[in-house]
Symmetry: C2
Subunit: 470 residues, 2 copies
């Protein structure tokens, strides 16, 4: 490879790629370019070859090159300019000192942040088949404004799917399509506040964002402890809450699965107090070791709001979510949806409907389950080897595991030390509701590769070892 | 055509179609089937042929049949069942009495309701080309969660387009993509209320929905009169407002175009009072008789929020809108967007970006402009012939015209009499802010055909004549 501080001519950037390797091509290309930048072989200000030209030189599709560049832009190694050219970033000097500074200040190279599914496996070809069918066949009237619940086709397809796979009791009339759980929960909590609900109980620990939404809606929030069998229903009883939000199938962040007893007690509580359960079934499609447990909604459809999303199964960028609502909440929630944004975009809805109805969603999940299980096994195995005092819990499902921290380590110290190694790792602190609980770490693995997980755990082990030497 | 009260065998439903006619095939099929139902030739409960079979029999694409069925389902002539079959509706008896009752109670057969562009001209093939390109080329990282302003590609493409066509002064960094004006205005008004703005002036008359949103955001609203040269800026000055919402390019509903003097006075007002102008440029792409007038935003980018939408140009079901924001509002509005729904769906954004960047949006508008002008000419001409005392105003742009009502007619009486003829026509009453003004009618024509406009005006003439005979 010749190096230049000005433009490349065709054929000037050569990266060795192994076609049969398990590492995807874009990732190999990305690693190759990153290493050359780090080693000073590609200097600051160097204009990178056009994606089309480099793709032709290396015998790749252009998308592979775009993907690699984009990742390096996101990491700060490259900058892309509106004129359409890409440069080695001025801030990435090739000296080791400056490099380390960048690693600590910029986004982590290996990021265990939760909520990143593997979008590289998004079923692009199948999705295109569905949208082609929709554009060929959908009647014009579908392109006008929708009813607030969403397109009939999608509500029918999802009701069939959820009843079959999640054991819900959904009817198309009781379903509402929304822009992910973010919008769905906001609309729902607004409707509940207007309907006279006052106090929302949330799991402690649990996702913090929805609490802010609840407070904005005018609801009090109260934390109720979770154990490895799910929510403490006796504590819920004492809390005076009239609505509770649970992640019963796979608690976030602890990964606990609510026992049959907990589930029955929750429904008994709702029935006795005329209270409502919101069941956030955010990642239940990914379950690895045991049979899936049906949604609670199927047991008590008039006491449970079921919430699901395509963000964890397909891609967050789709912004597709759904609610199954008790009859009395259908009308006000649909009105709230219409007032909010006049309904979700229709082509996406019809495409997803076709995708689900043709069994592509099932096929996609069947393909992804063993892959995620493999990532989980890699993570759990490497942790056991390298950092045996971090013991993963909640491993049976989902796209993350959690570990408690030994008492000599704090979340902040571990996260800072990991960041210096280029690893993003996150503590439990934001998730505690009532008061800070014991320290712990959440490992999201869905968007990572096996080599990245292994390297990430090894670097984390180094970070922890260096902390313990101090 | 043989008739049956059970299933059709192949080839049993024959509708004569003229391939060279100006009336689209789906509409011919729809009319043919509707007439047969009305005449009692297709009886209640008759199971219609499967769309695929009928399409094959008639040599049509299936989409044409689906479209015709869907329209008849919407009108209540057919019912479609989840099993996939379609029946002649039980409520549509073939006697004229029952038929008339349906016409009066159900949705109008010819509907002049505003806000319906001609979605039958949605550029499906070009849209499919763009989404195919996106699915082939977009990097995986685009499918993950977005930044709150929307995808860079779309902000770049729209900034170029708007600067070129609307004379705006947009930079990609100052643009925000939202789910139509509904969401955009809601987020913006929330941000303004939080930033200390107190009083929103709106045009009187004007669209009523945004006033409710403003009130919910905690803003006072005050109406300021409009004349045929736009907003009365002296009255705005007296109103004590610190933000004003204007539809300067084509006022809704009067159709007035703000004069150069009004526009200069508005900007002087904003500058003098450190106040803000929201410029809702909802239909400016359709301008027929005069040169387009550039957006005010281009004159004072730090005093004007520009709002645009694809709902009127492509299809409302896309839910694509955009704001060009003064620098100080970019950050809070982006945060509000992220909190609201984590960003708009990404595939639609990237598809629209490609569609705009490749010039398809310009081509679509060039195709639609003469069509809408023709519809407008038909409407204006037929009104002059049939109801000469309804004089259209605000005809130079957009997808609607308005007429004032002679003093012997009220909006309610005209709307009721028209509804009995199967015609939907709508008064100004909801649009008055301060107090009820004179009576008037708003004619949306974008989603209608020429024959429908002619028939609609003729039926409205009958309705008015019968009112005057009473």
């Amino acid at each position: 490879m010749r190096l230049s501080s000005t433009n490349f001519a065709s054929g000037e950037l050569l990266v060795e790629l192994r076609r049969d390797a398990s590492v995807p091509l874009y990732r190999q290309l990305e690693i190759g370019i990153r290493d050359r930048i780090r080693q000073g072989l590609l200097r600051t200000g160097t204009v990178m070859p056009a994606t089309r030209a480099l793709a032709a030189d290396l015998g790749l599709s252009r998308g592979v090159v775009v993907e690699a560049y984009q990742q390096l832009v996101a990491e700060g190694y490259l900058v892309s300019w509106t004129g359409g050219y890409t440069q080695v970033a001025p801030t990435v000097a090739s000296s080791p000192v400056a490099q380390q500074k960048t690693a600590a200040g910029g986004p982590p190279r290996i990021d265990f942040r939760y909520s990143k599914p593997d979008v590289s496996r998004f079923p692009r070809a199948a999705w295109l088949r569905s949208i082609r069918k929709v554009l060929n066949e959908t009647p014009n009237s579908s392109l006008a404004y929708l009813d607030g619940r969403g397109s009939t086709e999608l509500r029918e397809a999802l009701a069939d799917y959820l009843n079959r796979v999640r054991g819900t009791s959904a009817r198309p009339e009781n379903m509402l399509i929304c822009s992910g759980f973010a919008q769905g929960s906001r609309l729902l909590l607004d409707v509940l506040a207007a309907a006279g609900y006052r106090r929302l109980a949330v799991e402690d620990p649990s996702d913090n964002e929805v609490r802010e939404v609840a407070i904005k809606a005018g609801l009090e929030t109260v934390g109720v402890p979770v154990s490895d069998t799910g929510l403490d229903v006796a504590a819920l009883e004492r809390s005076g809450a009239d609505v509770v939000l649970v992640t019963a199938a796979h608690q976030f962040p602890t990964g606990a699965v609510a026992s049959a007893r907990t589930r029955a007690a929750l429904i008994a509580w709702a029935t006795a107090h005329d209270a409502l359960i919101i069941e956030d079934d955010y990642d239940a499609e990914y379950r690895y070791d045991r049979d899936p447990i049906g949604a609670m909604q199927g047991l008590a459809p008039e006491s449970v709001v079921y919430a699901g999303t395509a963000s964890k199964t397909l891609a967050p960028g789709l912004r597709l979510g759904w609610l199954i609502l008790p009859s009395r909440l259908v009308e006000p929630t649909s009105v709230a949806k219409v007032n909010d944004d006049r309904g979700s975009p229709v082509l996406d809805q019809l495409t997803f409907a076709d995708f689900v109805a043709r069994g592509e969603f099932d096929r996609h999940l069947r393909r992804m389950r063993p892959r995620y299980r493999q990532l989980r096994d890699t993570l759990v195995g490497r942790l056991a080897e390298q950092i045996p005092d971090l013991v993963p819990i909640g491993v049976s499902a989902g796209l993350h595991v959690m570990t408690w921290l030994p008492p000599d380590l704090t979340e902040v110290a571990v996260a800072d030390a990991a960041a210096e190694q280029g690893v993003g790792i996150y503590g439990l602190a934001p998730y505690w509701v009532t008061k800070n609980g014991p320290g712990g770490l959440v490992f999201g693995y869905g968007g990572l590769t096996e080599p990245a997980i292994i390297e990430g755990v090894d670097l984390l082990a180094n970070a922890i070892a260096s902390l313990r030497r101090q």
